[in-house]
């Protein structure tokens, strides 16, 4: 091709921008369509609002009673974000350690996998009983649920770097740290980011389910309370707020991935 590198990259960037715009517009359109259908169905079938609220009234409540939700939003969001950050660090660091020291990896991996498959909600009542209702107990619980899936994905990446790529490091007699820094970690970044996306989802689910099981703070606790009092519009408002943080973490990770994994474009 007669194009210079810069020109080719510019074309690439333009295409990416187009893709991004479509990537935002298309789902938004679906969203609006779904809400309209929901609204129409509720009106036509005359479903009582204490069963299923109309989306319009949910939105009205979301903004109208925002002050009422705010402390719970802050509580849940901070739990999720702090736990997600902890899980990211722990998940990747642990994977690095366990894949470098094989015996340790063999000894610990089954239990980390068990942690991943055990719903944390089964532990929360115990933890709350032992440590009280402090937020850090929830953060601990959510971290415990969120880091193993990242650990698993990152380990898979760290363990499966192409032999040829490692041999280059071998032929340069690189140290373990150098090999990890220059070869293993960058080669595994796609796995790490997949792990982080899953970890964000796990964190959101774990946080809300933990709040279900005790206490009166956080969006999970509010969903239970509002449902009991048949305030379905407010319950749904909380569900939407939960969806927002889940989506935010996912989008954030995807964005980071495109920034960091530049060579993949």
């Amino acid at each position: 091709m007669g194009l210079t590198l810069e020109q080719r990259r510019e074309l690439r960037r333009r295409k990416d921008r187009r893709d991004r715009i479509v990537g935002i517009l298309a789902p938004t359109f679906t969203f609006v369509l779904l809400l309209a259908a929901w609204e129409a169905l509720v009106v036509w079938l005359e479903i009582p609002t204490w069963q299923i609220p109309r989306p319009s009234s949910v939105f009205a409540v979301m903004f109208g009673s925002f002050g009422e939700f705010l402390p719970h939003i802050i509580r849940s969001y901070s739990t999720i974000i702090i736990a997600f950050a902890c899980a990211s660090v722990v998940g990747v660091a642990l994977a690095a350690i366990l894949t470098n020291f094989k015996a340790l990896g063999v000894a610990l991996t089954p239990y980390i996998n068990m942690l991943c498959t055990t719903p944390v909600i089964t532990l929360v009542p115990l933890l709350l009983l032992m440590f009280g209702f402090g937020q850090w107990v929830l953060i601990l619980a959510v971290t415990l649920q969120a880091f193993p899936i990242l650990n698993m994905n990152a380990s898979t990446g760290f363990n499966n770097v192409e032999t040829l790529k490692l041999e280059l490091m071998g032929s340069l007699r690189a140290t373990r740290v150098q090999t990890f820094r220059h070869c293993i970690l960058p080669a595994s970044l796609p796995n790490v980011f997949t792990g982080m996306k899953l970890s964000g989802i796990f964190a959101t689910t774990a946080c809300v389910s933990s709040e279900f099981s005790g206490g009166n703070r956080g969006l999970g606790a509010r969903i239970i309370a509002y449902t009991q009092f048949m305030k379905m519009d407010k319950a749904f408002a909380c569900i939407f707020f939960v969806a927002v943080i889940g989506l935010f973490l996912y989008t954030l990770t995807s964005y980071l991935e495109t920034r960091v994994v530049k060579w993949k474009i």
Binding site: L164, G170, R173, A174, P186, W263
Partner: protein, 266 residues
């Protein structure tokens, strides 16, 4: 004879797999003089890669000795760093790291060796310039042609100024034209730097065009079966390829490889 740059004495290598033991090479003796250009040619599976990988200490010989600059480096647990830095290894595939730009890839050995002096970076840039990769130095490997990538692979192995280049069928995957071009560039580099080059190839023409001497290997087990000196004038160029003497050497070499294969059928 012991002033050889690299000397292999009675090298044996066994690979133990789950089901069998493979005798990859048996009793290999080779010598590479300083500044020499020597090729190793032979059928697939005769242990060419195994030999070159033992020289670079990527794998350990089962028995036998390897000397570099008269120092015994194998069998030893670790080669001293000053010996490692004498060697540049070029893989069969370009083996560029896709997450680094061309320039970062070329500079990688400098980073690993901790050669932070700006003089080294200038040297890397000079090599990039010399191989015509300047325009592409900030490109990622996926944006490059196969030929450009292999060029980058060659200069990456040279960036820390090693005395020895070990090249494992470096141009095997390239088309004929690109390959000839790179062969000529390699000859230029060799003439300018006087490095000791050990070059593995499948191609008789390539071996004759490039080397002073050719080791012919046979399989089952992998061993040296012949050693042929290529007494052609230097500097060599593509005109040489159409000369009778060149054809003569190619025929001779093809004959030797053919004999090896025939004797294996018997």
């Amino acid at each position: 004879m012991s002033n050889a740059k690299i000397r292999l004495v009675g090298l044996n290598k066994l690979f133990h797999t789950r089901f069998q033991t493979i005798e990859a090479v048996r009793n290999v003796d080779m010598e590479f003089a300083a500044g020499d250009f020597v090729s190793i040619i032979g059928p697939s599976g005769c242990g060419k890669s195994t030999i070159i990988r033992m020289i670079d200490d990527l794998i350990k010989p089962t028995s036998g000795e390897i000397f570099i600059d008269g120092r015994r480096v194998s069998p030893h647990r670790r080669i001293p760093p000053e010996v490692i830095r004498k060697i540049g290894f070029i893989f069969q595939q370009p083996n560029m790291y896709p997450w680094m730009t061309v320039r970062e890839n070329v500079m990688l050995p400098l980073r690993v060796f901790g050669l932070r002096d700006p003089e080294w970076a200038r040297h890397a840039d000079a090599l990039i310039e010399m191989t015509g990769l300047r325009e592409q130095r900030h490109a990622y490997p996926t944006e490059l042609s196969g030929g450009s990538m292999q060029r980058a692979g060659v200069i990456r192995a040279m960036v820390h100024k090693p005395d020895i280049l070990l090249m494992d069928e470096p141009f095997g995957a390239l088309d004929e034209m690109t390959r000839e071009q790179l062969n000529l560039e390699l000859l230029d580099i060799w003439r300018a730097t006087g490095k000791t080059i050990v070059f593995i190839t499948h191609s008789v023409q390539e071996a004759v065009l490039l080397s002073n001497r050719v080791y012919v290997m046979g399989t089952n087990p992998g061993r040296v079966v012949d050693e042929i000196a290529v007494d052609l004038p230097r500097p060599r160029n593509l005109k040489l390829i159409v000369s009778d003497r060149f054809a003569g050497y190619c025929e001779l070499l093809t004959g030797r490889i053919g004999q090896v294969e025939l004797s294996q059928i018997k």
